[in-house]
Symmetry: C2
């Protein structure tokens, strides 16, 4: 009898792989081990749950254990894979319920252990009112902490395996009035919006010169203006020194600790790091960002061991080099491709262009490819860049909004390297034009000649992307 | 002394050419002859003017004669070019003001005479309340006709060379209550929305089985539902037989004239045809749709004679064959490229993918490429198609709306041939993903691996385009 396909981790990558595997080969077994109780949840939806825009935490669950079962997936929650023995093709598992250790042979193994929130120098665990937004229990705890104990309803977390004790404890805390968000990345910006929506005063601290570093300065400028207009106090170039307080958070300090702002809630969102510890001592190769190095089929350097999702590297569309950008589509797509490959239908996981979009109140932001000058030079390009402002609709049509497009190209070849878009009217989805152009390796003059859509309610005659290509194209040597 | 670059027609193509020409070569002269008084107006904005969503007709003018002058363009309005002599490199012009005929030698000639509304078998000229929407005077007349004489204000047409007598006459007519729109193409659908916005009862007549034929049935189904919900009575498979009435429109008849619906306004929008008569007897080659045949630089078969805009053919991105799709971007882009080429900077006009978007009340529609089975087979493909429904946002995020994507691919090669998108939430601009993919010649599996944007407020993890590619990809042979 052949050993089963074994998957570690029951989130986007793991369950996509298992589902696809079963569809391609319904005759063979797939077992998914998940150390906790949560499976397949929408990390990206958590700020909107906290904002109160989504009624129930369970709305963020995209696949239930029962649905996994219907797909023929042998899902084992409360089973932590604690070691991998690639020579014998076996994983060792600790069962939560009895602490027993069991062994499971595999034909193929997918490591989809995800990532976890970095906390930088901050320890949020011992301080009430200090959180990272790293999982569903944290989201539920933050939500409960913001509410006062009278207004909190457990309906918010019905039908979920949430840690009820932690919620009760947090709901019992006095409702906070002022929040510090440490880190101005996606999570920081989305949480600023969420907390304003919950009526808090919000301070957003960003270590470097502008928020949303991967989106570049032109996007960040618009976002910072929007944040300010929406009542968020943005502190750029301001590394937080310390979370202060005894039992409960009382202040965040900065300027090397010389200054502080009193707060009664702190959210630390300073990045995530890949969960690779399981493969320590297996001879696994790690790559960019400390993530598990994978090839175009998601294979690691270990025989019959694959990795996908936030714990794995990917290949960059523009540079062809290894990169690590932990995002949802990459996880789903990688898992799905590996599921097909293991089932016998060899499928590449696909390159990633680093496409990302984020909402900051009424501002929509998108970015893709190589925006950063240093990164572009490192990849062997000589980057030229241009930012233009164009209308989102015909100038005479109501709702027309200023849309800023930044394009970066290689001076010599004219090849498009990356881009960013910001604006309040349908700006985010426009980034897909650039993502597709990057995937296809188009040059700026080729982008300039794209036959993009025009109708007064949706776009001016020259789509903002075309305007940017025209202007940047004019600066390239013939 | 070198003869000037001569342009016939001062709309999108003509003025784009002249402007670009002057920017590239400020030392040489360009003369633009325009038979009428209007220049550079937004045809696509006219329904929204009539709807009342745009305050003044002058808002639709994108370049004024004074601005043309500032660009160094020698613009001559009221000058009708009545003949071209390509052997001598001379055009003959009739001046409106005195009826004098003059000659003008050219070094290069651009014919940018545009198109005009077809009226099919209907003569709208002799019937009050019957119109085609073919130019700014018509838009102003319809707008005035809908108003009653007391409520009409000439502010609507201030600062324009409009035919004031015609407006006064139409404003003096009794305000209409019921309109027939003959033809369910873009103009028909946009005018249905406009006339509902003005409070009229609206009947939309479409000869064939569904509205918006180039968008395919899945889009049309959603649009027809939307039109019905918005109070428009849609009559498909219903060729209009006759516009009935003596002085003023009284009814439109159908069923071979056996049935009629009383109306007091009729808009005929049954297509447009290219204005090529100027080149009769010059040996000009015409192509698709009777438009002037042009090559990749916009050159006709006549020496030093170019054509661009609604009067010219273009090359299709997917088939590589000649096509004729009169739309705004094509005109602007073609004119601009020819302006550069004539000035010495040889620039291709660019292929067109037949990208089009249209708004039908709250529904946004987009289409691109080869959707029609017959057209695909004629181009040598074996088309497979699939329509899927996906969310526009994460399922749990407020405002998520059903988005239908149709993809067509060649069975053997998997090459993407075309697509259509319809939905109420940011659906139209998503067509640009497909337009770019077609331009780059991507296959369906390649589209499936595009790194498109994901964030709950803007898109589900799998963008609707990716969902469609996954499903269609599953139906293609390996």
């Amino acid at each position: 009898m052949t050993a089963p396909f074994v998957v570690v981790g029951a989130d986007a990558a793991g369950l996509s792989a298992a589902s696809k595997y079963r569809r391609v080969d319904p005759d063979r077994e797939v077992i998914v081990f998940e150390k906790g109780q949560w499976i397949s949840y929408a990390y990206c939806g958590m700020p909107y749950f906290i904002a109160g825009r989504i009624d129930q935490l369970s709305d963020l669950l995209s696949l239930s254990p029962a649905e996994a079962d219907e797909r023929g997936i042998d899902l084992k929650r409360g089973h932590e894979v604690i070691a991998v023995n690639p020579d014998d093709g076996v994983v060792h598992i600790e069962r939560g319920k009895d602490g027993e250790t069991i062994e499971q042979p595999y034909s193929d193994l997918l490591v989809a252990t995800g990532g976890r929130a970095s906390t930088g120098p901050f320890d949020v665990r011992d301080l009430d009112g200090a959180f990272t937004l790293h999982n569903m229990d944290a989201a539920a705890a933050i939500d409960a902490y913001i509410a006062d104990s009278e207004s909190y309803s457990f309906d918010r977390v019905a039908d979920t395996p949430v840690d009820r004790e932690r919620i009760e404890y947090n709901a019992g805390q006095p409702a906070p009035e002022t929040a510090a968000i440490v880190g101005g990345g996606y999570v920081g910006v989305e949480m600023a919006e969420a907390l304003r929506e919950r009526g808090l005063e919000v301070h957003l601290f960003q270590r470097s010169g502008h928020v949303l570093p991967p989106f570049g300065k032109p996007v960040a400028d618009r976002v910072e203006t929007e944040l300010a207009e929406q009542g968020v106090t943005v502190h750029t170039n301001t590394p937080v020194a310390e979370l202060r307080g005894e039992e409960r958070i009382k202040a965040v300090s900065f300027d090397g600790g010389d200054d502080e702002i009193p707060v009664d809630l702190a959210i630390v969102g300073v990045g995530i790091q890949p969960n690779t510890e399981l493969l320590d001592d297996t001879g696994i190769e790690l790559g960019e960002g400390g993530a598990i190095r994978t090839d175009e089929y998601g294979r690691t350097n270990l025989d019959r061991v694959y990795a996908a999702g936030d714990c794995a590297t990917a290949r960059h569309t523009v540079t062809g080099e290894e990169t690590w950008v932990p995002l949802g589509l990459t996880a789903n797509r990688g898992g799905r491709a590996i599921g097909a490959t293991v089932a016998g239908d060899e499928t590449p996981v696909g390159d990633i262009a680093g496409t990302a979009v984020v909402k900051a109140f009424d501002m929509e932001c998108g970015r893709v490819g190589l925006l950063d000058e240093t990164a572009a030079r490192k990849a062997g390009f000589d980057p030229v860049r241009k930012t233009i402002t164009a209308g989102s609709r015909s100038g005479y049509y109501p709702g027309n909004a200023e849309t800023d497009v930044t394009l970066v190209a290689d001076r010599e070849t004219g090849k498009l390297l990356g881009g960013a878009i910001v604006g309040s009217d349908r700006a985010a989805v426009r980034i897909n034009t650039l993502s597709t152009a990057l995937d296809a390796g188009l040059t700026v003059p080729e982008v300039e000649r794209l036959d993009l859509a025009y109708a007064p309610p949706f776009s001016p005659v020259w789509d903002p992307v075309l305007v940017a290509a025209k202007v940047l194209g004019g600066q390239l040597p013939d």
